[in-house]
Amino acid sequence: MTAIADALIHAPTPKSRGYWASVAIRLSRDPVAMVALAVVLAIVLAAVFAPLIAPADPLKGSMIRRLRPIGFPGYPLGSDELGRDMLTRLIYGGRLSLFIGVTPVLCAFVIGSGIGIFAGYLGGWVNTMLMRVIDVFFAFPSVLLAIALSGALGAGILNSIVSLTIVFVPQIARVAESVTTQIRTRDYVEAARISGAGPITIVRVHVLGNVLGPIFVYSTSLISVSMILAAGLSFLGLGVKPPEPEWGLMLNTLRTAIYTQPMVAALPGVMIFLTSISFNLFSDGLRSAMEVRQ
């Protein structure tokens, strides 16, 4: 008896792929999305393991060896206006640039989904009120809102993250509200309610599983914008402060070198562009991988 039970327990379960597994498989067949993912991973890994792979100290420079061209012996990507190694600073720069670019989207994902699902699930006047408030934020172009908030709050990494979070919360909340409103009226939600499930159970079991996917995809598409805006705030002097390596700030401080070392001066922007376009392409791939239902 126990042998049979044992055999049953340890028998290989018939393979049935879950939704996310099939999304992953479809995504892995999309060459563009895979290349984009590889680039993002390479940049993230380089940033994480910066102390191990960077050839020099990101903060130490030598004024005698300032503004060396790309390919100069000892400086594979040249040196900056204070004689610091560009390759090192670009690798280290990924740390802050990714942090200040991705964190606002993560925070806004949590807060925005919360507000949107709450409003969408409750419906009625609570929804109307919340969405009207959200509408007000849409009356500001995102760049203007980001700059208005960080301009008022003052320079700093935390302030720049807070401002960008406030910029993205309404956008994510609006998407979350609209998907939740659609799900709420589905028959299975109605059935759950009739069978006595409380609101928390319904949201946890029936709503979250169905709305988080679309909200997540939408949020990933915001990372690219967020990277550009966060670096932009630092470029304006509103985010990261010198001498920390950060791509936006580096782009700003190297502007003085556009006549002497134009290629070196353009490098930080290449990194911002590369990261932003990779996130965009990966997000596009993720969207099309998720839209096709089996």
């Binding site: 007000v136 009356a139 500001f140 003052g154 550009i228 932009g232 470029f235 304006l236 002097g237 353009a266």
Partner: protein, 317 residues
């Protein structure tokens, strides 16, 4: 139509009030109170209290808001702390320059964007379509301030064809439509046009593809209408939405011009904002943002009403 317009205006009013509240609160977001930045360090507590009272900062927020709004509605945005001049005159001087730059950029973006969008939509899944799609991904992923720097490097630093910064040969000043000033607007306008170009190309591609797949196009072709005739129908059907997107893009560019104006030292609202931020000139910051946001709200309203006039099918409720 009139009813619809009135309804839209009614809908916009609370949004406009909300915008004014956010702009009002901006000053209070700042650490300390708005006077700390300008007060001499050795001011006594009594002097500080006196200043606070003189500027009304000792009163409850809602009352301060009411007084502020009343002044704003009468065209008084306060005085700039740095220059002492009225904020309204500073902003109105700058807004013209920004509007010119944003309009030229939108026009460039719209022209190329619709062209690429049409080509991509007509020849779907062809290499041309792929190229146009790639171009629009490039457009939306581009840190435009970096593109500006790259263009300056190529066309000013290397080739020496165009001036790197400013709006005219006389230093700052105002932009005027003559050949000398025209050289100054080329680089910033092209830089700025990249974003709307990508977005408009994407929109137009989707529109054209959708219109071409509709039955009326098939019917037109079946009746023997030539490609040129069909094309004209596609244009008429795509125009309202494409124009609406263009209108909104103008608003986005005007509001988001700060980075590009900073790169090119263009004497517009973005440049003004930059100065306001670094001198902690909060009245100037607040006034500029209020004007830009209100402009955006009004532009939205205008676009909405115009779009519905052109294509009554899309009335929003």
């Amino acid at each position: 139509m009139l009813l619809y317009t009135l309804r839209r205006i009614l809908y916009v009013t609370p949004v406009a009030i909300g915008v004014s509240i956010i702009c009002f609160l901006l000053v209070h977001l700042a650490p300390g109170d708005p006077l700390t930045a300008v007060m001499p360090i050795d001011a006594t507590a009594a002097q500080q209290a006196e200043m606070r009272q003189a500027y009304g900062f000792d009163r409850p927020l809602p009352i301060q808001y009411g007084i502020w709004l009343w002044k704003v509605l009468h065209g008084d945005l306060g005085n700039s702390i740095a220059s002492g001049r009225p904020v309204l005159s500073e902003v109105s001087r700058a807004v013209g320059n920004s509007l010119i730059l944003a309009s030229v950029a939108t026009l460039i973006g719209f022209t190329f964007g619709t062209f690429f969008g049409f080509v991509a939509g007509y020849f779907r899944d062809s290499p041309l379509d792929k190229a146009a799609s790639a171009l629009s991904v490039f457009g939306v992923s581009m840190p435009h301030y970096w593109l500006g720097i790259v263009l300056v490097i190529i066309f000013s630093a290397q080739l020496g064809w165009l001036p790197p910064t400013g709006a005219g040969p006389d230093g700052s000043g105002n932009w005027r439509p003559d050949t000398e000033h025209l050289r100054y607007i080329i680089l910033p306008a092209i830089t700025m046009s990249v974003i709307p170009m990508g977005i408009i190309a994407r929109t137009v591609r989707a529109l054209v593809a959708d219109i071409l797949s509709q039955e009326f196009v098939q019917a037109l072709r079946a009746k023997g209408l030539g490609e040129w005739g069909v094309f004209k129908h596609v244009v008429t059907n795509a125009a309202p939405t494409a124009l609406a997107v263009m209108g909104l893009q103008l608003g986005y560019l005007l509001g988001g011009s700060i980075l590009i104006e900073t790169v090119f030292a263009w004497p517009g609202t973005g440049f003004l904002l930059n100065a306001a931020i670094f001198q902690r000139d909060l009245p100037l910051l607040q006034g500029t943002i209020l004007v830009l946001a209100m402009f955006f709200v009004m532009l939205n309203l205008l676009v909405d009403v115009l779009q519905t006039t052109l294509d009554p099918r899309i009335q929003r409720t």
